[in-house]
């Protein structure tokens, strides 16, 4: 149903509803929670359990133009009266949380959290993953803004850990279909603005500073992806074994370069790298940028490069610097200097950061190390176990 006055759509041609995360949280969700009236009924209330993702398009249509994302309010109910988990099952499938929850900031402070969910068709253990993604935004619990909440952002693993006690109430959701990056990278150039994107437009996909903490990781993963691919190519004459079967999803994620975003030069990730390398290489924008900076930092810190090992050491350093950076970003968006940003005595935060780092680099090393050596399933199992156990850990910690 479109928003309309007297049956006429009142969204003028050319306008799209594509709110920023801040607009979603601070305007729409805040008003919803406070039961204030919202001009134009743009975001509808939806019972998530009764709506399949493919029906959302029709139900949450705004205006008459093409739409790539859809918005609705949903009231979360507990799955079980005593538990804290949310029931997000529909007739055809269920929404499953993935990854970590992301903290959303405005210019001043943290305003809410974003959970990412994926729609699976079918029933729980045998669901089939679809391309439907949901970002579920919730406002910060006013009581937990200062101390308990920030830790949630640093818990890298279990997405379910951070929302204990916040599983009730209104959330605002954005639903969209995941893009297939490999296809998009090729098609996008032709479709959008022809040569405009080719021409000096390589960096056009780099994002604004708000998103740069993710970019830092992207950069790392880009780097990982490259070495992973190289190493895999080295071992590719081997016949397809069980290992390569397990590797496939990771390749799909890391192998393609189409969706890798290069950070803008002024981004904190670049700053973080520059801090490591003590100079600021003004490298031209381009694909070799990351590699060059990384190589540069390596040369300074590890004069004796011996093959892949230093790569991973470098990786860990990058992860560490990223986590520091993110940590600071949680206290002050503009401060990216390693330690100056945070007040002392914030031990819980540091611990989580360290845990997160340990988990993350362990995960990466295990997975990719296993890939490189092509060794056995052992690595994979122990990785899975470590992942599982750290997940359990973070379940326990509030």
């Amino acid at each position: 149903m479109s928003i309309s006055v007297n049956g006429q759509s009142c969204v003028p041609p050319g306008f799209r509803f594509h709110p920023t995360e801040e607009e979603l949280l601070n305007y729409y969700l805040r008003k919803k929670v406070a039961s204030e009236e919202i001009d134009l009924d743009v975001i509808r209330d939806v019972d998530l359990n009764k709506l399949e993702p493919w029906d959302i398009q029709e139900k949450c249509k705004i205006g008459s133009g093409p739409q790539n994302d859809w918005y609705f309010f949903s009231h979360k109910d507990k799955k079980y009266p005593t538990g804290t988990r949310t029931n997000r099952a529909t007739a055809a499938g269920f929404w499953k949380a993935t990854g970590r929850d992301k903290a959303i900031y405005n210019a001043v402070k943290r305003i809410g959290m974003r959970k990412t969910l994926v729609f699976y068709k079918g029933r729980a253990p045998h669901g089939q993953k679809s391309d439907w993604i949901m970002h579920e935004y919730r406002l910060d619990d006013p009581s937990s803004t200062t101390d308990a909440a920030p830790t949630a952002t640093m818990v890298v693993s279990a997405s379910t850990s951070s929302d204990a006690g916040q599983e009730d109430g209104w959330v605002v959701c954005r639903v969209f279909k995941k893009k297939h990056h490999h296809k998009d990278a090729g098609a996008g150039n032709g479709k959008r603005g022809g040569g405009g994107r080719d021409d000096g437009g390589k960096a056009a996909r780099s994002s604004s500073p708000l998103y740069s903490s993710d970019d830092a990781l992207d950069q790392i993963l880009h780097y990982m992806g490259r070495s992973c691919k190289q190493e895999h190519e080295l071992s590719s004459p081997r016949p397809r074994t069980a290992t390569s079967r397990y590797l496939r999803p990771l390749e799909t994620v890391l192998g393609g370069h189409g969706f890798m975003k290069l950070p803008p030069l002024e981004s904190p990730s670049a700053a973080a790298t520059a801090r490591n390398s003590t100079t600021t290489p003004l490298a031209p924008k381009g694909d070799g940028n990351v590699e060059r900076e990384v190589a540069h930092a390596e040369d300074l810190h590890q004069p004796h490069r011996d093959g892949g090992i230093t790569d991973w050491a470098m990786m860990d350093r990058l992860v560490a610097s990223h986590l520091n950076g993110q940590h600071d970003a949680s206290t002050d968006q503009l401060c990216f200097d390693g330690t100056a940003g945070h007040a002392g005595g914030n031990d819980a935060l540091d611990d989580t950061a360290v845990n997160g780092l340990a988990f993350y680099s362990a995960a990466a090393t295990r997975l990719l190390g296993g890939a490189a050596a092509g060794s056995s399933d052992d690595d994979l199992w122990s990785f899975a176990r470590s992942a599982a156990s750290s997940e359990r850990l973070s379940h326990v910690s509030p």
Partner: protein, 199 residues
């Protein structure tokens, strides 16, 4: 950001090619009022792209304006040079317009320096000012050729942006993409489904 409309937060001017041609350019060429009348008319060759601020309609990092097409697209400090092939803009299965992409270069011709400023210049195609459907066979043929059909009316609508910004993608398409880490976790979710040995 969106001109003089009283839309609630979250609405942004981000017209599709088709909307620009159908709702804006076609009405302009037919001397019909555009509602909302938010896209101003500028003399195309008078302003350098960085001078558009405050003169053209700004939406995010993009600027929109109407202009009369001219042969020389020079401004005070440089000129717009076409790059790439023209694209057809279609609506309801037929081609209604043409989209040219141009890049702004500073300085004298032959020693000009390219900039990041990009312009999309939309033209109406012959026979589409009114509702006439003649010439549809000709219209179809231009797609791969460098030279388009005779264009009707010399009104164009332009979108100017600096390609080093996000502006060409959308306002914040990053929201719409999973972060790389999310992708990793998504793929890790697959491992859950491999039944783990029980300890």
């Amino acid at each position: 950001m969106g001109g003089s409309t009283n839309l609630p937060p979250g609405f942004h001017f981000f017209p599709s090619d088709e909307e620009l041609v159908i709702h804006f350019l076609r009405r302009k060429a037919a001397l019909l009022p555009c509602r909302p009348d938010i896209v101003p008319t500028l003399p195309q060759n008078r302003y350098d792209p960085w001078e558009l601020n405050g003169k053209a309609l700004q939406a995010g990092n993009q600027w929109y304006f109407f202009s009369q097409a001219t042969q020389s697209r020079a401004s005070r400090n440089g000129c717009w040079n076409p790059i790439g092939a023209d694209e057809a803009v279609s609506s309801g299965g037929s081609h209604v317009g043409l989209k040219k992409t141009l890049v702004f270069s500073i300085g004298e011709p032959f020693q000009a320096t390219k900039t990041n400023w990009v312009m999309h210049e939309y033209h109406l195609l012959d026979g589409n000012v009114g509702t006439s459907t003649s010439g549809s066979s000709r219209k179809r043929s231009h797609k791969k050729k460098g030279q388009p059909d005779k264009e009707c009316s010399n009104w164009v609508v332009c979108r100017v942006f600096e390609s080093s910004y996000d502006s060409q993608v959308t306002f914040h398409e990053e929201d719409m993409e999973l972060s790389c880490l999310d992708e990793v976790f998504l793929s890790l979710d697959d491992y859950d489904e491999v039944s783990l040995p029980k300890n």
